[in-house]
Symmetry: C2
Subunit: 145 residues, 2 copies
DNA sequence: GTCTTTGCAAACAGTTTGCAGCTGG
DNA sequence: CCAGCTGCAAACTGTTTGCAAAGAC
């Protein structure tokens, strides 16, 4: 379970296990497909009647990223978001619907191919990358016509 | 010249030609390879002894984007930057050196190929996209060894 | 008991806005 | 002349920080 991973990771690095950290991690574990801003995490905590200060959300979400449990991404300009860093997928690359905001992860295989192309053609060995496509998702395309 | 294009574009849309707009456009025209934040544009104006308020820089840079003369991009998380929107290139896609910050534009041909791949494999017709790779540029790689 | 973490409020950075006065057409 | 533009300061949003009190171990 995600909570066990969190506890282990915190212990390993001599951080303390606190209710706040577990709660925030839980928020992300509950909706693994979501890309949440600090504000949204904070809202979800309030919905659950958990009174955690926003400063703590900022600190925790940053900590969880350092631990490798979350990943910092950026979908719309200027707003930082976090998502669950499932170790099975990179999950960093998204296709974003400009109508409904739906965000779909680009499959790993495709990302690898792209990476290969850039490496070959630019003589640049990337350590990290960030690919975003904007367009209409199949749903919104349908409704439009 | 860039200034003529600006004047024409402003006239066409019934905006006024002002010294501030010309000056800010000039800043970008002078270093077509740069990706400037509002702060940097403001600094450059001060260096030239032009007393333009920061609010005007914000407003102007946004206007110039609307006119299609600049393009809004985002290189580091959370800071919005603008670059000259040279009509000959898309110029939206960058390879960024994590050491020196050098930013290189990914060639159009390569971008087109990537676009094609995503369209084919995901059944998603992109209207726009944004590709960023992070790594070490050849210079920094050399100095490291 | 000690050292970390939290909550709060204040500070901060980047950006937007309302308004009076200035200016281009 | 007068609508659009600018400068200024104040407001706002998202984020960070200092510090006393609370909590983990």
């Amino acid at each position: 379970m995600v909570n066990d991973i969190l506890r282990k990771e915190l212990k390993d690095r001599n951080f303390r296990i606190t209710a706040q950290r577990e709660l925030i991690m839980k928020i992300f574990a509950e909706s693994p497909e979501d890309h949440l801003s600090v504000e949204e995490v904070y809202r979800k905590l309030l919905d659950k009647r958990s009174r955690i200060s926003k400063a703590t959300v900022y600190r925790t979400v940053e900590l969880l990223s350092d631990l490798g449990l979350l990943r910092k991404i950026e979908i719309d300009e200027g707003i930082v978001r976090f998502e669950l860093a499932d170790s099975n997928k990179h999950g960093k690359h998204h296709v974003i619907c400009t109508d409904c905001g739906e965000t779909i992860t680009i499959p790993d295989k495709l990302v690898e191919k792209i990476e290969e192309m850039v490496t070959n053609e630019m003589g640049f060995e990337p350590e990290d990358h960030n690919i975003k496509f904007y367009g209409k998702c199949s749903n919104c395309k349908k409704n439009q016509k």
